[in-house]
């Protein structure tokens, strides 16, 4: 087991390494940060100074080596735009995105699971057809469009919820969290729902498919034949069995939720990592882009590792060591 973990760790380092090279070349190909950041009326001498100040005067491979040298000492460089350590800026923004993603994931399970269960148990009822049709809406409507509609209905029309921004925050261990205040919660609701839409559909579909398969399995048939109440059959036997794939997939989706919160965060002016990364891409703030991707890659690797380990516990047919 520890050999396996060690190997995964080495692979993770390799992935992060490969990623940083791709980002360096990619950002270089997209454009020139100085052209974007410099004041348009700066003259050539000032432009050259800015190029030097940002360390962009060296050949790309040297810039990379400089970056690598500092990264090994835990310094991912200063943001071009903010002139503060990139890692620190991202970590400041992280709680906002984390609470959004967690709220969206829990919301998806809380809403999606019962609906999917119903649709799976009564596949031919009108209700489950409505649910299935609704679930298609969830992943076919573009997020940005739904986001604006939510704002128009719940903030402008009805005035129930605040339109944009993050509410009051409470400081815990040096980071700010908004889900502990009423104001914060009310600000969180709409963006979380917006981000959750795709996942709600996913959970509904997974649950329904799982329930339909499980209901035909021998052990369920047996349980019913034994005369157990339908309630007990559903919630003990079926539920337990379908929960595993649902939790696995939502777990895996958690990473991409964070990576894809970009659109939701910019529509709702949510000051998280997603908004930071899109702003940073727009001005080619390379240190932030690299540091952000490093964190996301590590997160993905960790989640995947946990999922793979869970698989091997749950299903002995899957062996980790290969042959």
């Amino acid at each position: 087991m520890s050999v396996y973990l060690l190997r995964r760790l080495i692979q993770a380092v390799g992935v992060v390494f490969a990623m940083s090279i791709i980002v360096f070349i990619g950002v270089f190909a997209i454009g020139d940060p100085v052209e974007i950041l410099i004041s348009p009326d700066a003259d050539q001498i000032e432009r050259e100074r800015a190029v030097r100040a940002l360390g962009l005067d060296l050949p790309l491979w040297q810039q990379y080596l400089v970056f690598l040298g500092k990264a090994l000492q835990g310094d991912l460089g200063n943001s071009f735009v903010f002139n503060e350590p990139a890692l620190q800026i991202i970590l400041q923004r992280m709680p906002a995105t984390l609470e959004l993603a967690i709220a969206a994931t829990f919301g998806a399970i809380l809403i999606g699971l019962p609906l999917g269960l119903y649709a799976g148990l009564k596949p031919n009822s009108a209700g489950s057809k409505v649910i299935m049709a609704g679930s298609i809406l969830g992943f076919s409507l573009p997020t940005f469009w739904v986001g604006l509609m939510l704002i128009m209905v719940f903030a402008v029309q009805l005035g129930w919820l605040p339109s944009t921004g993050r509410g009051e925050t409470v400081e815990i261990l040096g980071t700010r969290w908004s889900f502990l205040t009423m104001d914060g919660l009310s600000h969180l609701l709409m963006p979380a729902l917006n981000l959750a839409l795709f996942k709600i559909s996913l959970v509904i579909r997974l649950t329904r498919a799982g329930v339909r398969e499980t209901m035909l399995m021998d052990y369920v048939k047996f349980a019913r034949a034994k005369g157990l109440s339908p309630f007990r059959v559903t919630f003990v036997h079926v539920f337990k069995n379908i929960l595993i794939p649902v939790v696995t997939v939502t777990g895996l989706e958690f990473g991409s939720t964070i990576a894809f919160s970009v659109v939701t965060e910019s529509i709702f002016a949510w000051p998280g990592m997603g908004k930071l990364i899109i702003d940073s891409i727009n001005v080619l703030d390379r240190p932030i882009i690299v540091a952000y991707l490093m964190i996301i890659v590590l997160m993905f690797i960790t989640i995947n590792l946990i999922v793979d380990l869970t698989y091997s516990f749950l299903d002995p047919r899957v062996r980790l060591e290969g042959k």
Partner: protein
């Protein structure tokens, strides 16, 4: 979606005609799925025939006139020649023609990228699961890497390297999406390859390629179809999002997504038709694809057989 159809009946036709016929009759059992198929066929025909049936060529700047811009549905153009049944956008583009042509682009992007990503991703996923060991680790780490890259950054890089075109948007989406297929197929294949029929095939010393594609792949199809139908929709929506961020298809050749993204800016002004009708077209397309896909999965899933 098309992969599902082709992959499905190719595998079935292989043997005798009867299973295929059974498949057809089973599929036809669901009226909803048949409806979906019919609607989708109509949409596909409209998309293919757009140049012949659209009132206007919305991609030809010479026939557009900004003086006809933002007209309400049913308005007549300034020169009296054209009636805009669904209104016009800011460039004076007839929305009906725009939607017909946009469907072409969106379907190309959606189906094309889902198909390519599926072929690419499923092959790698199968390989990873079957060969295992180093190959498996290498492929899965690339998957990790890929899944963690924001689609927007990938698209920006690819479009910066290759320039803006529909084909390059397809490439960008394939690069983003293949990893989903790879991971799903690998998960299923890991379980399947331990089964007896694969061991039997191995004992017969069949070539690896044959085992992979003739034996392993068909048994991994059900989850692949689920993902495939969702990914067509997701690809179309992703293209719309890329357009929203200014990274999608060329502005003079709008897809449905770009039409919606462009109309989005007019949502608050009451000029609903610029994004509403393309949105409806997008929705109908995706719903019909999913009706077909959902039922297809049920039919093809051996575990649901009565």
């Amino acid at each position: 979606m098309s992969i599902a159809l082709q992959g499905g009946d190719a595998a079935e036709r292989e043997r005798v005609e009867t299973p295929f016929q059974r498949f057809v009759s089973e599929f036809a059992e669901s009226r909803l799925a048949m409806l979906g198929l019919i609607v989708f066929s109509i949409i596909a025909v409209v998309a293919i025939l757009a140049p012949f049936i659209a009132p206007q060529n919305p991609y030809d700047l010479a026939v557009l006139d900004i003086m006809d811009g933002r007209l309400e549905p049913g308005s007549v153009s300034g020169d009296g020649a054209t009636t805009f049944w669904l209104g016009t956008d800011d460039q004076g583009r007839d929305m009906l023609s725009g939607i017909m042509y946009g469907l072409r682009i969106s379907l190309t992007v959606g189906a094309g990228s889902a198909l390519l990503a599926c072929i690419f991703g499923a092959s790698l996923g199968l390989l990873a699961a079957y060969v295992g060991g180093r190959t498996d680790s290498a492929i899965m780490r690339v998957v990790d890497l890929q899944l963690s890259f924001p689609a927007i950054l990938v698209a920006l890089m690819i479009l910066a390297f290759l320039g803006k075109s529909v084909m390059n948007v397809v490439i960008a989406i394939v690069v983003v999406e293949w990893a989903y297929y790879a991971r799903t197929v690998r998960g299923t294949a890991l379980v399947e390859r331990r089964r007896e029929y694969i061991e039997a095939a191995q004992c017969l010393a069949l070539p690896t390629r044959r085992i992979l594609f003739r034996h392993l792949l068909p048994n991994c199809l059900p989850p692949l179809i689920v993902i495939g139908t969702m990914q067509v929709a997701r690809a179309i929506a992703l293209e719309a999002t890329l357009s929203f961020l200014g990274l999608g298809v060329p502005i003079t050749e709008p897809s449905l997504g770009l039409l919606i993204a462009n109309g989005y800016e007019y949502m608050l002004s009451g000029k609903y038709w610029i994004s509403f009708y393309p949105g409806i077209a997008l929705l109908i397309t995706i719903v019909s694809i999913n009706l077909v896909g959902d039922h297809l999965r049920d039919v093809l899933n051996p575990r649901l057989k009565k």
